[in-house]
């Protein structure tokens, strides 16, 4: 149950609706410029603008003689407040007070100019509307367990733009090519903050237990220090609810040899004996996987996975003759495209 509190907080942080709606009506005078046009008052005489003695009129200087000067070495003198005494030596008559008409005439517009300026254009210019996708097989691994050779997987994909995406997620385990447990999720995700997405969709359980269908609501993102976090609440039939939280972190031993830390916890509101699940915190997994990125997209790894059951889930396991905790060596590949 302790899991719920932090997850709730994450939700509270991430749930607010899209950014702009939230700020409608806020009056942010200095920062308002959406198409940012700030009318400026007529410019006062130049001396006011530059209390620094440096601001002499360059047009009166012969820059050709300045080649040897290193401007970067020039330090503006310390000025506290606007020190007008610094300006006494300046000859105001030399300052070009800006004219109101252009020094080079602006050509009068002819009808031909107008036609050339706004030709009939039938195509539409587009930038930033591309639809992309990402397919990641984060874990595809084998391990030797009491039940035989176990194949575990965790996959993730997104399709869409920068803000709205369809997410696919799946994880599970199969033993001797029979799926023992696993799930597939299809979610709509929307970025609500720079690093956070909220998600809603469905989860379908697959495998030996009851094949339950859940509504899923989640948040995922990149926390400070580049922790990848995902937390999802599930609502099933008959008032069942479940929670899953997952965190991943990469430690770069080198830029190719990467140690991936991973933790996942699951909790359920109601026991589900057919699935071997008790109520409350049911399982926690920890893993450390050392991968070598042969290329960015292909990385074999070896690792250690530890999982532990709690509460009634542990009882179910004991009754089935399994251990409550299990530590095993895994070997697999990480691939994306």
């Amino acid at each position: 149950m302790r899991l719920i509190l932090p997850i709730g907080i994450v939700f509270a942080l991430a749930a607010p609706s899209p950014a702009r709606a939230q700020h409608e009506g806020h009056v942010m005078t200095p920062t308002e410029p959406a198409a940012t046009t700030t009318e400026q008052k007529p410019p006062p005489a130049k001396p006011a603008e530059t209390p620094r003695p440096l601001a002499v009129d360059h047009s009166t200087m012969d820059h050709s003689k300045m080649e040897g000067m290193d401007h970067s070495k020039m330090e503006p003198p310390e000025v506290t407040g606007i020190d007008h005494s610094n300006m006494e030596g300046m000859d105001h008559s030399k300052m070009d007070h800006a004219p109101s008409t252009s020094a080079t005439p602006i050509p009068l517009v002819t009808q031909a100019d107008r036609e050339a300026a706004f030709p009939a254009v039938h195509t539409h210019h587009e930038h930033g509307t591309s639809v992309n996708s990402y397919w990641l097989l984060d874990r595809l691994e084998v391990s030797d367990t009491d039940d035989g050779t176990t194949l575990g997987w965790e996959a993730l994909a997104w399709l869409g733009g920068d803000i709205q995406r369809v997410w696919l997620r799946s994880e599970g385990e199969s033993v001797d090519s029979r799926i023992e447990h696993g799930d597939v999720e299809v979610l709509y995700g929307r970025s609500v903050r720079a690093w956070w997405d909220v998600l809603a969709g469905v989860r379908q359980d697959v495998g030996e237990g009851p094949s339950r269908t859940w509504a899923a609501f989640g948040v995922q993102g990149l926390a400070p220090y580049k922790f990848e976090l995902a937390a999802t609440a599930y609502l099933g039939q008959g008032g069942r609810t479940a929670l899953r939280a997952e965190a991943e972190y990469d430690t770069l031993l080198t830029n190719r040899l990467i140690l991936q830390w991973r933790a996942e916890g699951n909790a359920y509101s109601k026991a589900d004996p057919l699935a071997g699940i008790g109520s409350g915190l049911s399982t926690v997994e920890f893993g450390a996987r050392l991968r070598f990125e042969v290329t960015r997209q292909f990385a074999p790894y070896i690792g250690i996975e530890h999982d532990r059951a709690f509460g009634n889930t542990a009882d179910f396991r004991r009754n089935a003759g399994h251990g409550v905790a299990d530590t095993r060596v895994v070997a697999g590949v990480r691939v994306w495209f």
């Binding site: 939230q22 308002e32 046009t37 700030t38 050709s64 587009e126 930038h127 903050r193």
Partner: protein
């Protein structure tokens, strides 16, 4: 050799083994696919083709090139990469028939266009599909005809699809109507660019999947140990905390680097050794053009001083330096006077120090000078990002303003004790814009004062960072170039050798923020991508000031089509006329624009994939 290359029409023989090797060595284009003027498997001449006059026929097509050992289709103009050097004369009217000969099914197709970068011309000649015209469909042509009203070094490139990354760019040199005030005995174009074997569309898709793909220089456990030993554990932990809070890495200097790119000089990789031949005592004019999609180059010629005489085609008071950082789309004309050595290396390393391209200036072909090693890879500091000169050990918890907890008030807790307040104790208390601070020109805020941000950035998922105390940084050589023992050109060195051509004070100020999200690889102005943003409207004849604030940790070369960007100095005075204004991270710079060109104009970051992902606005000048 029966494997199939995408986009290559059947029936074209694959290169022989011998040609293949040649191609790698010279890095040139292997073939024109039956397009004018080249046919068959002619190897590109190492001398850049030059087209002079006032009438031009240009054909956009696909050409096989080999820069890495792999033969790949490039999109080219008249079969060469870069396209031919176009040499015009100021005061003439040029006519260009541009025909789309891209093969059906080309990865670079279907439509094409040519934009004349930095040229002042009518909007329907500007070559931006969807704004200036409809683009050029396969098999069709577009007739460009306009008066040439300026002189100097420029370039041209496609504004369609991903063609600019695919090889479709070329140099453009306009000779002055009268005698050239910049006298020289030799005149070479040095066009730098970045080539990838990847389909550029796939490269963009990869950036969207994993923006940090090429950043294989991230700090590791070993680096932590070393830093802890050198700087002490508390400082190291504090440093890692700051970056960790922001979820960013200080080694993130460019989005695409030498991991993906092969850098080219006049369409030749370093192995091919482009060579410019001089006679001892010659005054040699080099026209540096950065035609790359995503690369800033640091250029130098060990043993020679570079005298910069023009920037973005426009003459400047000569300034002599050892090294120049050239942003994407910028051009610099430099004069060098080789002598004493038979050969000099023209060395251009990318700003992240992941690769280089070099060529040679020599008294004859075939000579080489030593190629210097890449400089050490720099690491960004908080000051680089406009977060002031932070002392380590400050609680940075409130710094990541887009963090949910701090979101309600993005500036809560942003008082940075480490930021040196400059002139007075109350840095900008009375400096609110429009309260007599007009003279501050929206600039000159110096190194202090809290930067405000547009409301559209607040809680915006596409904005992962906001700068707190940006400065003009005009006299800053830039990340990786400070204190390197060489005199490096800065923007403060660039002064037009003419007075402000307009002379009026800007009547209004438009402030735009450069924004982005590194992980999503989403880039924008004010947090709004092109598709979400209204055009920036200007009234014909008005003079306004654009203030740019960089709210990202990347540099952005910002290019306004059709009109000049007259960069102001830190005090708000006219300083230098440019067409592309570099905006380093943590910078706030301003320039004046005279809206003297009616029509719809593109305004965008010239890092190609930043533009592609949304860092683009329409500027609309109306009567």
């Amino acid at each position: 050799m029966s494997f199939k290359y995408p986009g290559v029409s059947p029936g074209i023989a694959m290169p022989s083994r011998r040609r293949f090797v040649q191609g790698l060595a010279t890095g040139g284009a292997l073939a024109g696919l039956g397009l004018w003027p080249q046919t068959g498997w002619a190897q590109q001449s190492r001398k850049m083709p030059v087209l002079r006059g006032t009438e031009f026929d240009l054909s956009v097509g696909e050409t096989l090139v080999n820069y890495t050992g792999q033969t790949r289709p490039a999109v080219t103009i008249n079969g060469t990469l870069p396209g031919p050097l176009l040499r015009w004369k100021e005061g003439t009217t040029v006519t260009l028939r541009v025909r789309n000969d891209l093969p059906r099914g080309s990865i670079h197709g279907p439509d094409t266009s040519i934009h004349w970068h930095g040229l002042v011309l009518p909007a329907n000649m500007d070559g931006v599909p969807g704004m200036s015209f409809d683009g050029i469909r396969p098999g069709e042509s577009y007739l460009y005809r306009f008066d040439v009203k300026q002189a100097g070094t420029y370039w041209y490139h496609s504004h369609s699809g991903f063609q600019e990354q695919g090889g479709m760019y070329g140099p453009l040199v306009i000779d002055p109507a009268g005698p050239d005030p910049i006298a020289s005995d030799r005149d070479f174009v040095v066009m730098l660019s970045d080539w990838t074997d990847m389909d550029p569309a796939k490269l963009f898709a990869r950036l969207k999947k994993m923006a940090s793909h090429d950043n294989v220089y991230q700090r590791t456990v070993g680096d932590f140990m070393r830093d802890a030993e050198r700087k002490g554990m508390p400082a190291t932990v504090a440093d890692r905390r700051m970056w960790g809070q922001m979820r960013m890495t200080p080694s993130d200097l460019s989005d695409v680097n030498g991991q993906t790119y092969t850098y080219l000089l006049n369409g030749t990789a370093a192995l091919g050794n482009w060579t410019g031949v001089f006679a001892p005592g010659d005054k040699v004019r080099l026209r540096l053009i950065n035609g790359s999609a995503m690369t800033y180059f640091d250029v130098r010629i060990p043993g020679l001083k570079l005298t910069v005489v023009a920037a973005d085609g426009q003459p400047v008071h000569p300034v002599t330096v050892d090294e120049i950082r050239i942003g994407a789309a910028e051009t610099y004309d430099v004069i060098v006077q080789p002598g004493g050595q038979e050969a000099y290396t023209v060395f251009a390393q990318d700003s992240a120090r992941t690769g280089y391209v070099s060529g040679t200036l020599a008294v004859r072909e075939g000579l080489r000078a030593p190629i210097p090693p890449l400089d050490p890879r720099p690491i960004m500091s908080m000051a680089d990002m406009g977060h002031g000169d932070m002392q380590t050990g400050h609680d940075m918890g409130a710094m990541a303003s887009t963090q949910p907890a701090a979101a309600a008030d993005p500036h809560a807790g942003h008082a940075m004790p480490g930021t040196p307040p400059p002139p007075s104790a109350d840095p900008h208390g009375g400096h609110a814009m429009g309260t007599g601070a007009g003279a501050m020109s929206g600039m000159g805020h110096g190194a202090g004062g809290m930067q405000t941000h547009p409301a559209s950035e607040t809680n915006n998922p596409l904005v992962d960072m906001q700068t707190m105390a940006p400065t003009p940084k005009l006299d800053d050589p830039g990340i990786g170039l400070r204190d390197n023992g060489r005199r490096v050109l800065t923007y403060a060195d660039l002064r037009s050798n003419f007075a402000d051509p307009d002379g009026r004070d800007p009547a209004r100020t438009v402030e735009l923020h450069l924004t982005g999200h590194m992980e999503k690889f989403a880039w924008s102005f004010d947090g709004l991508k092109f598709a979400q943003a209204e055009p920036l409207r200007m009234t014909y004849g008005e003079r306004l000031r654009i203030v740019l604030v960089n709210d990202t940790m990347m540099s952005h070369p910002i290019h306004l089509h059709g009109m000049w960007s007259d960069v102001e100095d830190a005090d708000g005075n006219f300083q230098v006329r440019k067409h592309t204004v570099d905006m380093p991270p943590g910078s706030k710079r301003s320039y004046r624009v005279r809206a003297d060109a009616l029509g719809r104009w593109a305004y965008h970051c010239h890092l190609f994939f930043h533009m592609e992902s949304g860092m683009f606005r329409e500027v609309r000048v109306e009567e």
